[in-house]
Subunit: 408 residues, 2 copies
């Protein structure tokens, strides 16, 4: 097989469905382009010789029955939806990699011993409706009807109506989680710049970082910038700057994989000649070790309070996201690592700082991920790209891992 | 004279012209309320026995002729315009204080030896049109027709049309600056909290601070907050925070009267889960000593460049305001200080961190200012206020100073 040609063709083909007139892709849950893409993938899977089915909410499955252990399923896939004006790899390349690898294995080695299955998940990004992981959470029977029953998109179209318009509906009653799935392997672009900076081709993901997000409001006192001596000021931007400097310097000392970001800063009144009386800022902090994450953010919260007290300011600290780290399955990590070695890849074991469907699936099925490099670390952007040779190495590594899992 | 009653009545009366329906005052240059206020003050000055006149652009003058040295004029006043939704003291109380003090002196001591003159200046705030000090600059023959000929207000009304609508026009041809003015004394609210914090009643202003204003843009690199290790980041908000902390700590070490404010901070994309790739921020720095101001901001500019270089960022530093400090006249400062002593005031010699008409006038005529305390340092706000007893002490100090200047 000419991997380069095949992969390029498949990416171009699937990217044409939902391509954004302004560049990149916009393929939101339960839109026409979303449905068209799921149906196109369904046809593609059938061409490979898979039996296909949708679940009630619109997750798509394609299956090659195993010869010896048909009730043991080795699964791969990712999500079909994109962010608004996203790139053409995030999500869908994990689906393409899965079916191309399985198609290649079937062609080369015939029927697998264990069943092979692709999943094209309905939704992960949360870009149309205020809900995320709708696909994987339904797959795990963890989605809640009450979380989406009243939500609507930015045009006021109700989630439920959009879903039914596409021919799907809520799962009926209680359902048992499938017990046949023995491994789940998801390929995804890194969306960071570690692999590129280290000159590597493959990341073997052994953990998805936990994350905490905060909104902090510091209230000092707005004053005239000319007439208020430094000693009489309660400058909220200065207080923020102290917190930011101290926090980031400490985070750098703690070292990888801890990351700390003060992404949003909104002073009031935000005017050149007024001492800022108030500032709202956000904190995003992630680590693969839940205890370390908790310890670091706990100390940061204390320091924010101390700095506010010392400067005579009021502070409110709102923790609004608190997700625990999700470790990947050691044995699947090992299988991927061996596959990368066998294919002579330059690889490393690494964590994912971003969230993925795998974090929903990993608590229930042995799961691990394969990363391919992102050029410049860019993602969620039409400029999102990976060198074609790196996409090829990703699919080859996936094929080698699935061979190990399904053919031995 | 019952100073308390008289002052309260005069403030209430003049504040009723242009009172803002949302609270406070809005009296913008060449609006109906502005013209009404100037005409009302004109009538008031005539009631005191002054001869009045407008100059071509709308500055109002009221004059009590001196008996012995009529060609030596002692002048006091301030500006009649306000900011949008401002308070009822900034500007107009300097006019009220001038005519009340002069009226009291005339009533008590008769005709002055030197002429006494009130000026109610047309404009200082720059709140309707993009021009400031229109009143004092015309008084000094420094206003330039070409600076205003094409400007318009936020409703598109041209400056020239608004001016002519009120019956005023540009000064015709070259005019000589008056040579009879031997002293100018302006009373103003402090707009800061130094007097209040020190429990004082009067500030004798010996200098108006110079100021420099900058807009700085730092360009780092926007990255995913989860997938970009700390070592690979070019975090523009962190760079800003370093500059802010270092700058303010250094400013505090230098000490009063240096003030340094980072009033506006605008990161991009300003989102919780993206490492900020860019930040725009402003710097406002003031000092009464031009060399010290220049030295401090020069070092700050260097440090901004160094921090940007060290962090691999691009930086642009735009100095868009650079006003030199204006010293007040030592002999007039002395006269006001002696007046404050004579009236048993708790006073201090101080500088002004804010700009005033006096800075335009001081280079040409012996000038100094009297400050009265601002409650909470609040100004340019409907909550702008000064205790009535402090207003009384201000007018008494003004009267004592004018007595010294015009009756001896």
């Amino acid at each position: 097989m000419d991997w380069f040609k095949t992969i390029q063709e498949n990416v171009d083909w699937l990217s044409s469905i939902g391509s954004d007139p302004t560049g990149g892709m916009t393929r939101l849950l339960y839109t026409d382009s979303w449905l068209e893409a799921q149906n196109a993938v369904k046809t593609k899977l059938e061409e490979i010789g898979m039996t296909t089915r949708f679940d009630e909410i619109g997750n798509l499955f394609g299956r090659l029955e195993g010869s010896t252990y048909p009730d043991e399923t080795i699964m791969s896939g990712s999500h079909i939806d994109t962010v608004v004006n996203g790139g053409n790899l995030d999500g869908q390349f994990g689906i393409i990699a899965a079916y191309l690898a399985m198609g290649y294995l079937k062609e080369t080695y015939g029927q697998p011993l264990r069943s092979l299955e692709v999943i094209s998940m309905a939704e992960e990004e949360g870009s149309r409706f205020p809900t995320v992981f709708w696909g994987s959470k339904n797959f795990m029977n963890e989605a809640k009807k009450e979380d989406v029953i009243d939500i609507a998109d930015f045009n006021g179209i109700k989630f439920v109506d959009a879903m039914r318009q596409c021919g799907f509906d809520f799962k009926a009653g209680e359902q048992k989680r499938r017990e046949d799935i023995k491994a789940f392997v998801e390929l995804h672009i890194e969306q960071g710049n570690v692999l590129e900076n280290e000159g590597l081709q493959i990341g073997v993901v052994n953990s998805i970082a936990g994350q905490k997000r905060y909104t902090v409001i510091l209230k000092g006192q707005a004053n005239h910038a000319g007439t208020t001596p430094m000693g009489y000021r309660k400058d909220a931007v200065y207080a923020f700057s102290r917190i930011c400097c101290e926090g980031i310097e400490k985070a750098k000392k703690v070292g990888d994989p801890l990351v700390l970001t003060f992404g949003k800063v909104e002073p009031k009144p935000n005017t050149v000649n007024v001492v800022p009386g108030e500032v709202l800022f956000t904190i995003d902090c992630r680590h693969t070790d839940g205890n370390l994450l908790h310890g670091f953010t706990g100390e940061l919260e204390e320091r924010i309070q101390e700095i506010a007290d010392e400067m005579g300011m009021e502070v409110s600290i709102d923790l609004w996201m608190d997700e625990a780290p999700v470790p990947m399955d050691e044995s699947i990590v090992k299988v991927i690592e061996e596959a990368a070695k066998k294919e002579n890849m330059k690889y490393r074991i690494m964590h994912s700082g971003a969230g993925h469907d795998s974090q929903i699936i990993a608590p229930h099925y042995p799961t691990a991920m394969i990363f391919v490099p992102s050029i410049g670390g860019i993602s969620h952007n039409p400029a999102e790209a990976t060198k074609l040779e790196d996409l090829v190495e990703g699919v080859k590594t996936m094929a080698a891992a699935l061979y190990e899992l399904a053919y031995k």
